[in-house]
């Protein structure tokens, strides 16, 4: 699959707290913007991939875009863990000839509609039962699950709330110079982070990602066809999902180590091997930043630093603009928007094109992750070498 498919178009709606319209309407706008970005028309689309949690139906979106016939539509489960896995689906479809032009999209009224911070359903399905057994003891929201992760990580690594805060300060700084970001022009200080209220101790308000209304789409086609389109292609070098047993959703309590992110380590091994590169070959990483402690753990799981060294890696300035590994230059889901990580993939594309507002110099490879705490996925995007 390596280098067979590429992202050629990206498009998004505005990011807001109250879109005032349906998720179908936003999905149509984002996909049309992605088509316009690469110069293809809706009739070219013959594949559609989105999240199992997306509320739109594929044909509702396709009907509004001039799509004619669709040969492949698939959905990936486990919430935000789906992002890079959707790219994997699209790349597989293109590489195998199952589809020629695949759109990956996510549309979400995450603030004005169903707010994930209000908790997950605890009964009514087997999936709900997988987390519902924790409900009576007080684990209902994503922040509460990740607080358990974070507390154990503090115990094992010596990380402090300030170490979490340093991640938030960098991402808000990045967002502050991104005009598309919800937090454009609104950086924070570490003191402000430390003064923000507990959401679920040890996670503070400013450790949490946003809740956003908006949609983001990316268009995937063959690397060969990509060369005829408007922008330098972001070639999909590798992508993988990761599920490692014993596996649970919020945190896999029964493993020897609760904080090892074994599924992300699995993803890392797979994508580095398939791309035939290592962590030193990555110039910028777009990490799934739902909660700051999981960003530290990802830096370790992806091999950018050793186990337990995440806090020191951040303190040394490595993840900032100009550092060894700038992360989430657009501000991520903490600073730009929570479009469930598809907006993070779009930033990876801009970094490879050289068009990001916070451009990292000489980007050859971008690593993008999705999910953290449960089943996960990741991808490596690179410059065209064809």
């Amino acid at each position: 699959m390596r280098d067979r498919a590429a992202i050629v178009g990206i498009g998004a709606t505005e990011f807001s707290k109250n879109s005032g319209r349906s998720e179908v309407s936003m999905a149509v706008e984002a996909v049309q913007a992605a088509l316009d970005d690469c110069g293809l028309c809706g009739a070219a689309i013959d594949g559609m991939v989105t999240f199992a949690t997306d509320e739109t139906l594929e044909f509702q979106v396709a009907n509004c875009l001039g799509v004619k016939e669709v040969s492949l539509y698939s959905r990936v489960p486990y919430g935000g863990d789906a992002g890079a896995a959707c790219l994997q689906q699209a790349a597989m479809a293109v590489a195998s000839g199952m589809a020629e032009v695949v759109v990956v999209y996510r549309s979400i009224n995450g603030r004005s509609g169903l707010r994930y911070s209000r908790g997950m359903p605890l009964h009514g399905s087997e999936g709900a039962a997988a987390i519902g057994l924790n409900g009576p003891f007080g684990l209902v929201t994503p922040a509460q699950f990740m607080a358990m992760h974070a507390r154990r990580y503090m115990h094992e690594s010596g990380a402090t709330s300030e170490d979490f805060g340093r991640v938030a300060v960098v991402l808000r700084s990045n967002a502050s110079t991104n005009p598309a970001a919800v937090f454009f022009g609104r950086p924070i200080t570490l003191a402000e982070h430390q003064a923000s209220r507990w959401i679920s101790e040890p996670i503070r308000l400013l450790d949490c990602c946003l809740e956003t209304d908006g949609a983001q789409a990316v268009i995937v086609t063959s690397a060969e066809r990509a060369r005829d389109l408007r922008h330098p292609p972001a070639v999909i070098r590798a992508a993988s999902q990761g599920m490692v047993c014993p596996q649970e959703l919020g945190a896999s309590w029964s493993r020897d180590s609760i904080t090892g992110m074994e599924e992300m380590r699995h993803v890392a091994r797979r994508i580095y091997a398939r791309a035939d590169i290592g962590p030193d070959d990555i110039q910028t990483a777009i990490l799934y930043d739902h909660f700051t402690p999981l960003v530290l753990m990802q830096l370790e799981a992806l091999g950018f630093c050793d186990r337990g060294e995440g806090p020191a890696f951040v303190r040394e300035g490595n993840i900032e603009q100009g550092g060894r590994l700038p992360i989430n230059p657009h501000g991520g889901m903490i600073g730009e928007a929570y479009i469930h990580g598809i907006n993070n993939i779009a930033e990876g594309v801009r970094q490879l094109r050289g068009t990001s507002g916070n451009q990292v110099p000489d980007v050859e490879h971008v690593l993008v992750t999705s999910g953290g705490g449960g089943p996960s996925s990741g991808a490596i995007l690179g410059r065209d070498r064809g």
């Binding site: 009576p136 003891f137 007080g138 358990m148 154990r152 115990h155």
Partner: protein, 66 residues
């Protein structure tokens, strides 16, 4: 306090530690099981600090229903 409790048998449970202030709780504290009625139709397995204090093993501990 929500906690992951490891039983002597090696099984881990998501549960609560009750009867101790959060500041006095520490990772590895020996615990005992109590079945606590929390609603007319619901009884939860929760944990309290072990009494008398156990020594030696240092692992989080739970004792079955009595």
């Amino acid at each position: 306090v929500v906690a992951v409790v490891e039983l002597d048998e090696g099984i881990r449970l998501v549960s609560n530690v009750i009867g101790v202030s959060p500041g006095d709780l520490y990772v590895g504290m020996p615990l005992e099981l109590e079945f606590v009625p929390v609603a007319p139709d619901m009884t939860l397995p929760q944990f309290v600090p072990a009494s008398p204090p156990t020594t030696g093993a240092g692992r989080t501990r739970a004792i079955g229903p009595r």
